[in-house]
């Protein structure tokens, strides 16, 4: 009897016992703040109110009608699509180049990583100077080579500012994409290309029928990670424009930060955070759905 019980504990309870510390840590670090945010989002709570009142979905009703929220949401989606698209294309091109044999390849591979290694706050400041209207390098180069006839007000023009921020993010994150795709490329067996060469397949054929299908799982995972990251962009925008001009670079993270910490509207700020979470969740669900397919086929 005792032996049975011991056997039972060893077989079924013991693994959970081992897992308990990690589960506890995850619960404290991830789950508690998350549930707390959701709970707060159901309240009217702010620093200047003595007590918080439960208002159900009141904050979310306000959010649906809030132009500021939808503006930030649209900007965030735009920023995410543009940056992930260019990061993928450029990252793939760089990975393909680095996959070839040439002298100093190791050095180049390391050098490519530099933008990724610089803290974003620092690189955003640098790019802020480059895109400075009066003294910036961008205006100097583009006007002195006569590509542009007059200085551009990069960060002061509502049509340009978000694109400048996107350029900085693309510059910073392409290396990450390149590195992951390079790892993917290196898993493709050389025989496939040899066979293709014998069959007389063109470059395009090899790209479409060998390379892309083979790295599709890696590509999709990398794009998923980048999408989640780009959707939560904060530092580039916060440092370069602070959301201006005319809210044209306000994204969900910066808006949430302003509402929560500057305006100390804890309830509504939490509702914004929850809305952002739901958006990200839907995005990743879409990706995973797509990915599951590819993974099973691959």
């Amino acid at each position: 009897m005792m032996a049975h019980a011991r056997q039972f504990i060893r077989q079924y309870a013991f693994p959970y016992l081992l897992l308990a510390p990690s589960l506890l840590a995850i619960g404290l670090i991830a789950l508690y703040p998350f549930l707390q945010t959701i709970w707060t989002s159901l309240h009217r709570a702010s620093l200047i109110l003595p007590d918080s009142t439960f208002i159900g979905l009141g904050n979310f009703r306000r959010l649906i009608q809030d132009d500021g929220f939808w503006n930030a949401w649209t900007n965030t989606v735009y920023f995410t699509v543009v940056t992930v698209l260019f990061e993928t294309i450029l990252g793939f091109a760089i990975a393909t180049a680095l996959n070839r044999d040439f002298r100093g390849r190791g050095l180049v591979r390391a050098a490519v990583l530099i933008p990724w290694a610089i803290p974003t706050v620092v690189s955003s400041r640098l790019w802020g100077l480059i895109f400075n209207t009066d003294a910036g390098l961008a205006n100097y180069l583009l006007t002195s080579t006569r590509i542009m006839s007059a200085d551009q007000n990069w960060l002061g023009n509502p049509g340009l500012a978000i694109n400048v921020a996107a350029i900085v993010d693309i510059w910073k994150t392409t290396p990450f994409m390149a590195l992951i795709l390079l790892a993917g490329l290196q898993t493709i067996p050389g025989e496939l290309y040899e066979a293709a060469a014998i069959d007389g397949a063109s470059f395009l054929d090899r790209l479409l029928h060998i390379t892309l299908p083979m790295i599709a799982p890696v590509l999709l995972v990398a794009m998923l990670l980048r999408t989640l990251d780009a959707f939560r962009v904060f530092d580039v925008i916060y440092v370069m424009t602070g959301g201006g001009p005319a809210d044209s670079t306000e994204v969900l993270s910066t808006l949430t930060y302003k509402v929560f910490f500057s305006a100390t509207q804890f309830g509504y700020g939490s509702a914004l955070a929850v809305a952002m979470f739901v958006s990200v969740l839907l995005l990743s669900a879409g990706f995973l759905f797509f990915l599951r397919d590819k993974l099973e086929v691959g």
Binding site: P33, A45, G156, R232, F234, D235, T264
Partner: protein
């Protein structure tokens, strides 16, 4: 540092969570501090003060205070410089909201006093016996800013205000007077820009980055037309005066073209740089610019600048936005009497004079301006007395931070030609009404 996790981390900062966390931190601190609380009523209080530009004068002042009050030890928590006001605000919200008595005394931007007062985070100071005799020593505008619902929830420290710097050499060379009205300024800037052979020369520099400073500039343009954001609790931000003020700001950029479009990205320092490099005729800024402009290492316009109140509309008045950091006393301080002693000392005539002489922050006590030594060493500051006396506070309301974000967004929208002034101000008025309603 990565700020990307902020929204999820923010959940931790909720009031209740903070209380729990605060209690935990408090117990850790208490156990660590235990030896510091020695016999014979020795107490330790904490002071969270902003870092002032230049050599930090606070440690010496605090040491002097400890010497004069041998039963009190002060732990100095150094906050960032005032241009990091968002971070300072976040620190104060988080630590005061933990309600564990730390920091006992803190420095706060003038615009947060009503907010912290309404939240019950700062203690009313009347309980320590201060009244009209004491407040009469300070500029009335500062006392007004430190008062929330008839209670003194802040205590004046130093004052600042926006005013106009100009290139006296350029104006003299073209036989121009310093401008009294906006029309004078536009005329003078246009004339000097046309006559000088300097393609880099900019007429009038101010700040229009979508940030707090845009609100400061807006309150000044508005005030110079005789308008206010709030008048006796009513929203007047879309008055006729307000529309002409916003129209003027737009016109300076696009019609008169004496202000570069780049001003839309400028906060204080980017607007200051062209001026001290000799490429600006007029500049709206705070008092810190003067010392830089007179320093040959950093400036090409040493002894070539003048200063005066900002111009006004023909039927308006001179206006300056009131700024500066003031003291607050934590409502949950364990040693309120000692904390108040420290606050009184740091705001006292001697400390204010020391700070004015050493690092050039302007006193809030009127009598200090009559000090002979200060008059001799820093005539510039004494000359600003009138600007400080008449300076207008930004809307005094507990929800000010929210009002400020709305103003930034609306004014930036108009200045980038996204919305016509009247329309921008009408919807701003609607939004402010919602916020304070």
């Amino acid at each position: 540092m990565s700020n990307r996790n902020l929204p999820s981390r923010s959940a931790l900062s909720r009031r209740t969570a903070l209380k729990a966390g605060g209690a935990g931190i408090a117990s850790i601190l208490l156990s660590r501090q235990a030896p510091a609380v020695i016999a014979q009523d020795q107490v330790e209080i904490s002071f969270a003060g902003i870092r002032i530009f230049g050599d930090d004068p606070m440690p010496a002042l605090l040491a002097q205070f400890e010497e004069e009050n041998s039963n009190i030890t002060v732990r100095y928590i150094e906050l960032p410089t005032p241009n990091n006001s968002t971070e300072i605000h976040q620190y104060l919200v988080t630590s005061l909201n933990a309600q564990n008595g730390e920091p006992d005394v803190f420095t706060q931007d003038i615009i947060w006093i009503a907010e912290f007062g309404a939240a019950g985070l700062s203690a009313p100071l009347e309980q320590f016996g201060v009244g009209e005799t004491e407040t009469a020593e300070y500029f009335p505008g500062l006392i007004e800013a430190c008062t929330y619902q008839d209670q003194l929830v802040g205590w004046p420290w130093f004052v600042d205000a926006g005013f106009l710097y100009y290139r006296s050499d350029l104006l003299d060379a073209h036989g121009l007077d310093a401008p009294a009205t906006w029309d004078d300024l536009i005329g003078a800037a246009t004339e000097v820009m046309a006559a000088e052979e300097n393609p880099e020369l900019l007429g009038f520099l101010w700040q229009a980055r979508q940030a707090e400073v845009l609100v400061c500039d807006w309150v000044e343009f508005l005030g110079s037309a005789g308008g206010r954001v709030l008048t006796e609790g009513e929203v007047t931000v879309n008055s006729e005066a307000a529309v002409s003020a916003l129209q003027l700001m737009q016109d300076l950029i696009y019609t008169h073209q004496i202000t570069p479009e780049a001003v839309l990205t400028y906060d204080e320092e980017p607007s200051r740089l062209p001026f001290t490099a000799g490429n600006g005729v007029f500049l709206r800024n705070w008092s810190y610019v003067y010392a830089i402009a007179q320093n040959p290492d950093e400036s090409r316009v040493v002894d070539q600048i003048g200063y005066q109140p900002l111009p006004m509309f023909a039927d308006g008045e001179n206006a300056a936005t009131l700024g500066g950091y003031q003291f607050g006393l934590n409502a949950t301080s364990a040693h309120p009497e000692e904390a108040f002693q420290l606050l009184q000392f740091l705001s006292g005539p001697e400390a204010q004079k020391t700070l004015a002489l050493q690092v050039g922050v302007a006193p809030t006590r009127q009598a200090v301006y009559e000090d002979a030594e200060l008059g001799e060493q820093n005539p510039f500051m004494v000359g600003l007395r009138d600007v400080f006396t008449g300076a207008i506070p930004r809307p005094v309301h507990p929800a000010y931070p929210q009002i400020s974000l709305a103003i930034q967004s609306a004014i930036s929208g108009a200045l980038t030609n996204q919305t016509p002034p009247q329309e921008a101000l009408d919807s701003l008025a609607e939004e402010i009404t919602f916020i304070i309603g």
